[in-house]
């Protein structure tokens, strides 16, 4: 049945009849070529956008919400409105314990500080952090290490500084690890240097162990804000609601008080954007496939005209002993070959365009389309769709070719 696919003669027949009218063949292929070119370029661009977006968020746990205390807007249980609410370590632990779907709760503190190194000095934000921060907001360390549990337990005076802080405080190429810098007049040993990422809440320059921060700023159990990360399968909006309700309960705040706790739901914002990306990808597929179908129809249409032109030839072939199946097979194979070759050319030229786009817009820090590309399975899928569409569309002229009786075909002038 499928022996004809490897039979040189059936391909020779097809090649001959396509070669017979080169112009027609080329014009026929343009439709499909254009369709697949468009599909590849659009998909590549969409991927590029997604990549640049992912790079922006980097290793940040996106299923997160930030919560901090503000002032109440309703009197409750004897407290006046306007009471200042401060979150505490107990709150963070309670949330981790009580709220469903929590992955991490990271309490954080921040304060401004004057930092001095030798004759250099500057104002920086100093954060008190747990090692857990590295899990939700991956620090890309250039040198050294991040805070560890030992630092927390022993309230060590070490600090992890950002690349920017390093540039301000140290000489070029100077080895900072193990050197001391003064934060608010206290000596801290530099344990690591990290690359600043673009995302990740309030900007931070220096990280010191949480317990050390408590001690030098005399914070007690108070915390500045907390980062709550939900497990991937849980809805971060629900976690935010649950956490706030629990916090209101713990801090004696009216349940309907909207001002007492401020929050920024990163997961929600992230979802909006991924939704937009998904929509764009759907649109890409839709436009691409629609163009492809239009192109395949053009092939079918032109083959239909061709069959009409070739009525007599088909009649002769049938008089010489070609069965209707052989005639149909040849026309379907012509259609498939045309779509396939046009599709391959489209994929190749689409790939070249993506390479050009990548060279022009895909390089550098703030590139809009990072690594604009189309994955190989998608290329196979597109080719598969082409073969199926080509076969289906080829059946129409094939049917037309054999629906004419050979005698009528021969009479045709």
């Amino acid at each position: 049945m499928f022996r004809f696919l490897v039979d040189r003669d059936s391909w020779q027949e097809i090649y001959d009849s396509l070669r017979k009218n080169k112009f027609r063949t080329v014009v026929t292929m343009i439709g499909v070529w254009w369709g697949i070119l468009l599909l590849i370029c659009l998909l590549g661009a969409a991927r590029g956008m997604e990549n640049s977006f992912n790079r922006l968020f980097g290793d940040f746990a996106t299923n997160s919400v930030f919560i901090w205390g503000q002032t109440t807007s309703k009197p409750f249980k004897g407290f006046q409105e306007g009471k200042r609410v401060r979150l505490t370590l107990q709150d963070a632990k309670a949330i981790e314990r009580e709220v469903e779907g929590i992955e991490f709760v990271v309490p954080r503190n921040q304060n401004g500080a004057v930092v001095i190194k030798g004759f250099q000095s500057g104002n920086f934000n100093v954060n008190g952090d747990y090692p857990l921060l590295d899990k939700v907001q991956k620090k890309k360390l250039i040198h050294g290490r991040f805070i560890n549990q030992n630092d927390i337990n022993e309230k060590k005076k070490i600090t992890i500084i950002s690349e920017d802080a390093y540039k301000q405080l140290f000489e070029k190429d100077e080895d900072a690890i193990g050197q001391f810098i003064q934060i608010n007049g206290i000596n801290f040993k530099v344990a690591g240097i990290y690359e600043a990422s673009m995302m990740g809440g309030p900007s931070s320059d220096l990280h010191i162990p949480f317990t050390t921060f408590q001690q030098i700023y005399n914070q007690g159990e108070d915390i500045g804000w907390m980062m709550i990360t939900g497990k991937p399968e849980f809805d971060i909006k629900q976690i935010e609601l649950d956490a706030k309700l629990l916090l209101k309960n713990l801090n004696k705040v009216h349940p309907k008080d909207k001002r007492a706790f401020g929050s920024f739901n990163l997961g929600k914002e992230f979802k909006k954007f991924t939704g937009f990306l998904a929509g764009m990808q759907f649109l890409t597929w839709f436009v691409g496939i629609a163009t492809l179908i239009a192109g395949v129809f053009a092939i079918g249409n032109i083959l239909l005209i061709t069959v009409k032109e070739r009525t007599k030839e088909i009649g002769v072939r049938r008089a010489l002993g070609a069965t209707p199946f052989e005639i149909k097979r040849q026309i379907v194979m012509e259609a498939v070959l045309l779509t396939l070759v046009a599709g391959l050319l489209g994929i190749i030229s689409g790939g070249l365009i993506l390479m050009a786009i990548d060279a022009a817009f895909g390089q550098g820090e703030d590139a809009t389309l990072v690594n604009a590309s189309v994955s190989i399975p998608i290329v196979w899928l597109a080719l598969g769709i082409l073969i199926v569409l080509g076969t289906l569309i080829g059946l129409i002229p094939a049917h037309k070719a054999t629906s004419v009786k050979p005698i009528d075909a021969l009479r045709e002038e």
């Binding site: 040189r8 003669d9 027949e13 001959d16 009849s17 070669r19 017979k20 007599k312 030839e313 009649g315 002769v316 072939r317 049938r318 008089a319 010489l320 002993g321 070609a322 069965t323 209707p324 199946f325 052989e326 054999t402 009786k405 050979p406 005698i407 021969l410």
Partner: protein
């Protein structure tokens, strides 16, 4: 060889139907060279088409080499055509984008014969019609007579039992016509059974038997003394 009994055929024309063949009885033995004559509308082409399995009779029997030709589907008809029959057309009907040898090997292709053998056979038959040197030429590079000779080689290639020629000289001038007829006579001398539809008396006289059709019935069926075409060439 060929046995036709009480053959009827009518074509629908609007509500009415046109009765083209009104009971044809014809018997052709192997080795005969028969001319079917008649004015246009006499049904001679219809008869040839039915014999050629390009068309089907409404009524009657048709045996070809003792095989009943009846209720054939398109596939079966195609296989029988390929096996039993060789066609020669008035307008040659060569495939324009195939060269002479490719045209000749086409029926062999549909027989499923391998490429090399096909090529050899096609060249042999081209040689027989004297066009070996023209094997690589496209039909539009050949003269009318050469085209018809390629068509004859193509009809011969499948080694059919019966050659059917529909006005084979209709598109040729007299000299070329006689050349073609001379060649057909040679084939007949070698034992081929040939049926020729024509309306030209001189062509018909070069056959061995003339069947005259009029209004769908056989008026006259007579054996004649063959005029050899070679004396005119």
């Amino acid at each position: 060889m060929l046995e036709i009994k009480n053959l009827h055929k009518s074509y629908p024309i609007g509500k009415d139907s046109l009765h083209v063949l009104k009971g044809i009885d014809l018997s052709v033995q192997a080795g005969e060279l028969v001319a079917i004559m008649g004015s246009s509308g006499s049904g001679k082409s219809t008869l040839l088409n039915i014999i050629g399995m390009l068309d089907e009779a409404d009524e009657g029997e048709y045996f070809l080499d003792n095989v009943p030709i009846k209720n054939l589907n398109e596939k079966k008809a195609a296989q029988y055509r390929n096996k039993f029959l060789g066609f020669i057309f008035q307008s040659f009907n060569l495939i324009a984008y195939k060269n002479a040898v490719e045209n000749v090997s086409l029926p062999l292709y549909y027989q499923g014969i391998g490429r090399k053998e096909r090529q050899e056979k096609a060249m042999f038959h081209l040689g027989k019609v004297g066009l070996k040197d023209w094997a690589k030429h496209l039909p539009n590079e050949l003269s009318g007579g050469q085209k018809q000779r390629v068509a004859i080689a193509r009809a011969l290639a499948a080694e059919p039992k019966l050659l059917l020629a529909d006005e084979p000289t209709g598109a040729l001038d007299t000299t070329t016509s006689y050349e073609i007829m001379e060649f057909i006579q040679q084939l007949n001398d070698e034992g081929k059974t040939i049926l020729i539809v024509t309306h030209e008396e001189d062509i018909a006289n070069m056959c061995k038997r003339i069947v005259r059709l009029k209004d769908g019935v056989i008026m006259e069926d007579s054996y004649i003394t063959q005029v050899r075409a070679s004396q005119y060439v």
